[in-house]
């Protein structure tokens, strides 16, 4: 839809998983909602990520909301009338050395200490049951056996469709430049006199969310990055799990069509003045080396495509979720630092509750925007066991 002016209770800027999920959940609570997206829904990180749906390896701050979100994933059909391609699969983080094994032991112990049981240790033989083709030097792993993966683009589109069915209005190909107060309400303004206003404003602008937090007087040190992914040709089936490594960047899974999707966060280059990135082949070469050292069975694989997504990265790798610290009736859910996809369904639910009722029991204080002071620097020290994958 393209229009000059529209009004709703809630204005959401950003049409990725977080914007679409919050919009749907807000509509389910009876709010009228507008979602404004600069490109097309799921055009950026939400549509091109690896699709991993995991609790495994998360920062402890994220665990509760990740568990909450996982419950929604398991019943996705009930929420959006689409299974989103979700498939249950173990998410396994492999140890390649004795020091890695020590990290594994400590990690699972810490997870248990925090009252969670979704991560387990796999010893060498257990690891081989799940990943028979892992190279011999892989000594064990920690894993979440009932995590999974889904189809990112299909998922976000399903959220959009269901939201539209509940009356949410989407404005795509509509870039917003300015967010500002208009009396008790909010106004967001784009090019060519495009204007939207609403009582509540939610910033789900992903890698570009920092511009809106800045306009609200609460800048944050968000950095757009361009993590790279690649996908191979179809290969004989060798792997059911989603694989990572304890101490080297890698994320790998084999899809149902037999192709192998490889990520891990190695960064490409942002193309200045555009919303896109470029592959840095010297880095991708390292990813290729890593893959082959762990899965020699892929020696004949061919890369059919490599791409980047644009993610908003915060220095503590935690997102910003919650109220604005400077303005009433303004909210944020952005900066998910390459691991926001799985959180989308749950965070949308939490944001809708917070906006509609004024509060939420969900433990989102670790994601408060005030952890960055007004120069945009970090004020709060990161917890000691904050290592995450």
């Amino acid at each position: 839809m393209k229009a000059g002016y529209d009004v709703a209770d809630l204005i959401v800027v950003g049409g990725g998983i977080h914007g679409c999920s919050a919009a749907l959940h807000a509509a389910m609570r009876g709010m009228s909602v507008i979602v404004i997206e600069r490109d097309t829904v799921a055009r950026h990180a939400s549509g091109v990520n690896a699709g991993n749906v995991r609790r495994c390896g998360r920062d402890f701050a994220e665990m509760p909301i990740s568990v909450h979100s996982m419950n929604i994933w398991r019943h996705m059909v009930d929420l959006v009338d689409d299974d989103c391609g979700f498939q249950q699969a173990p998410v396994i983080v492999m140890a390649e050395s004795d020091s890695d094994l020590e990290v594994v032991r400590q990690r699972v112990a810490d997870v248990r200490l925090n009252g969670y049981d979704h991560e387990v240790i796999l010893d060498q033989s257990q690891l081989r049951e799940y990943v028979p083709s892992a190279a011999p030097h892989c000594l064990g792993a920690f894993a979440t056996l009932d995590d999974g993966h889904a189809q990112p683009y299909q998922t976000v589109l399903a959220f959009q469709r269901k939201a539209q069915a509940l009356g949410v209005r989407f404005y795509e190909q509509t870039a917003i430049n300015t967010v500002r107060r208009s009396g008790a309400d909010w106004e967001v303004i784009g090019r060519d006199g495009v204007r939207f206003s609403g009582h509540y404003f939610l910033n789900c602008a992903g890698a570009w969310g920092g511009e809106f937090s800045r306009q609200l007087g609460e800048p944050v040190p968000i950095e757009p990055i361009a993590p790279m992914m690649m996908v191979t040709n179809r290969m004989p089936h060798f792997c059911d799990a989603v694989l990572s490594l304890v101490s080297r960047p890698l994320s790998l899974k084999q899809t149902s069509s037999g192709t192998v999707v490889i990520g891990g966060g190695r960064r490409g280059d942002l193309v200045p003045g555009t919303l896109s990135g470029e592959i840095r082949f010297t880095e991708l070469q390292l990813a290729a080396e890593t893959v082959l050292s762990v899965f020699p069975v892929m020696s004949a694989a061919k890369i059919v495509r490599a791409w980047t997504g644009i993610e908003g990265y915060l220095p503590d790798r935690l997102p910003i979720i919650g109220r604005s610290s400077t303005e009433e009736n303004a909210f944020h859910a952005f900066g998910f630092s390459t691991h926001g996809f799985q959180l989308g369904p749950g965070v949308g639910d939490i944001m809708a509750e917070l906006i509609a009722t004024g509060s939420t029991n969900a433990p989102i204080s670790p994601f408060d925007i005030t952890r960055f002071n007004h120069d945009g620097a970090e004020t709060r020290a990161k917890p000691a066991n904050g290592r995450s994958w």
Binding site: N233, R234, M235, P236, H237, S257, G258, A300, K302
Partner: protein, 93 residues
């Protein structure tokens, strides 16, 4: 049937295709040699197992994917026929 219009070649280049001997000439690609030998099915598709053969002969359609000396998914139209190659039909997965 495909026929040669040039004079008889001085020597033939022999390679195997699914263990069958194929006679090729200098200048043949694997694809042209297979077609000349009447072998128009060179692979089955991964999606449905349908039979496929060479289509564009210039390396853009990726239909003629065969296994060459153990390496899968080589474009037969872009590889010259060489003595002793072991070629297998490309298989679906």
């Amino acid at each position: 049937m495909l026929e040669h219009i040039d004079e008889e070649a001085a020597a033939s280049i022999n390679f195997t295709f699914d263990d069958q001997v194929i006679k090729a000439r200098l200048g043949d690609s694997i694809a042209s040699a297979l077609l000349a030998a009447g072998e128009i099915v060179v692979r089955s598709t991964p999606v449905s197992g349908a039979s496929r053969g060479p289509f564009c002969m210039m390396g853009v359609c990726f239909e003629c994917l065969v296994e060459v000396n153990g390496v899968p998914d080589r474009q037969a139209c872009m590889q010259p026929a060489v003595e002793g190659l072991v070629i297998r039909r490309g298989g679906g997965r």
